[in-house]
Symmetry: C2
Subunit: 343 residues, 2 copies
Amino acid sequence: MTIAPRKQKILAAVIENYIACGEPVGSKTLQNSEDLNVSSATIRNELADLTLKGFLIQPHTSAGRIPTEQGYRYYVDNILEAREPDDGVKRYIENKLQSSFDAPERILKSAGEILSELLSTVAVATTPPGEDARVHRIKFVQTGRYTSMLVLITSSGMVKSRLFRCDFDITPEMLNVFDRSLNEALAGRPLSCVNQPFAQTFAASFGELGLLMPDMLTAVMDACFEASGINIYTSGTTRLLYQSDLDLVSARSILEFLGSESECEKTLGNVPDGTNIYIGRENPSPLLRRSSLISARYTIENQPAGTLALIGSMRFDYKKAVSIIEFTAKTVSQLISELVRKG
Amino acid sequence: MTIAPRKQKILAAVIENYIACGEPVGSKTLQNSEDLNVSSATIRNELADLTLKGFLIQPHTSAGRIPTEQGYRYYVDNILEAREPDDGVKRYIENKLQSSFDAPERILKSAGEILSELLSTVAVATTPPGEDARVHRIKFVQTGRYTSMLVLITSSGMVKSRLFRCDFDITPEMLNVFDRSLNEALAGRPLSCVNQPFAQTFAASFGELGLLMPDMLTAVMDACFEASGINIYTSGTTRLLYQSDLDLVSARSILEFLGSESECEKTLGNVPDGTNIYIGRENPSPLLRRSSLISARYTIENQPAGTLALIGSMRFDYKKAVSIIEFTAKTVSQLISELVRKG
DNA sequence: AATTAGCACTCGCTTGCTTAGAGTGCTAAT
DNA sequence: ATTAGCACTCTAAGCAAGCGAGTGCTAATT
């Protein structure tokens, strides 16, 4: 559906005003604040029409208009034009991100913090899913008489470590056996192969010696499982309680969403490439149906990787958010790609 | 200050009733619900006196009484008697904790979750401070062409790992040099020695070769710093928004407290041994001055170690909380001590 | 045909008032 | 020392009135 230019201008004005002030916008306010050279009566006619078409609603007869989800949607699709952030902001983002330029995880954590800070809202960053990664190498480091650390290096360059404890004295020879046999069996195999059946067959193939392995194998499975999932970094939870226009119910839902690893993973993992905005009921996750989710995928070597996201009420400063999240995602993509290229 | 037995009984009744219902308690309620064989007028006289003495207040003339901080304090000091939790609860706690019986960190994380779940409130668990720990051993694992992992093992048996990245190809020989020289210099030295000056002197003593070390040394410093601080595990943040009697301001403060590493560390690190209750303004941290903090230290080999804590409104079910947190702390102490003993 | 001035209308918010009810403190009797 | 009784205080809830913001409609104007 397209809308006549003036109507569109009025819709934009209502939405931007509402986003800025949080109060229903009336015809007089619009007449004063925008360069619409028409009378308030004309504006009222237009408003009535926009309301009829479902872009705006009136909380009650004697109130101004506020946007509906459909209104926001139109605004986001047809009116909002992406802009780059100010130079100062860009520099700020680049500097902050570069200062954690050693491991992808730290870059992502920083990215979340930056977004949360610049937009005063909750931000989430996920690591790339490692589902199709493979085992590159597994190493062991003895850390105590009964304990060792296992280091898993995946084909995508991720490193996970895990401690394990045995009932018996660990000897270097034993670790050597573990190391050699495990790498022989697993190098190049997908992480998802490293499961319970594998562990059993593997241990069984060693006969007596296999009885010493369960603790070690559990650690291997844990590490592979963790490496094949995604990590989720959340920032700015506190800000949730400072958002004036967020009712308790929405705030709780959002907190619940953030608290549920699986819900986050499902939602943020299935977001399409590029920047995306989900408004209210458009949200895939039921817990966010009263809020807005703005997501941006970052890429590694031009391949879609993980997700950055912002969560807040539907009354969101979409313009600012989109410009900042897009720029951040672009910068994250560059930095992580560079890291990966270097190996 | 001591209080006559009947008065004390009435005070206890008011507080327990208020904790249970969250509403001011009047003389008639008390007469009906407690086995006080006196008239409501008598109770009123007592209430008036308790109010005068500062243990109770009236929100307004025609309301019942609610406890003051002083009231809670008296209750907690003189009336509350510690009880063990029910057998079912005890078994639940023990089972849950034993299932994460491999690393102290996991036990503590579990402990926080258990507390938060059983008491429907926010729970925090801290690892023991490693401040007086020493470097036991440092090991290196190559993870990529330019990246390696450093594994720090402390005298207290803690293991920290850290990735680092160099600008040059890492060779096994180089790691060998790092390994030998670092361990020679640091084994047995306190973690706090591993600081900037040390790094500089150390690098300098290698001349040319020292120029290759900064990234590695930063990682070592980071790991030592992290190992010398405490880790903080928070559970049940979401529940904060479900506590009916917590106003927005307190909820925000608590979230802010939990969000501030330093504030948490300062507060929970300086808690005295055993179980402790801080009510409202008694709290060392200004952010908790409208809330209650219940802390319990756990011990390792009978030495005070880290802290378990509960945070909620002053209207807290202290009786249940104390019994559960004490039992949990005791169990945690046993399990971690056992781990440490085994090495 | 589009715009606009004007006006009656709606409805939420505030204020002021009243009432019911809970709980008190005090007094006089036990 | 306790208690019955009562007057008193104060909140919460309900209701009516007035205000004001903002509307939709109509008739006049461009």
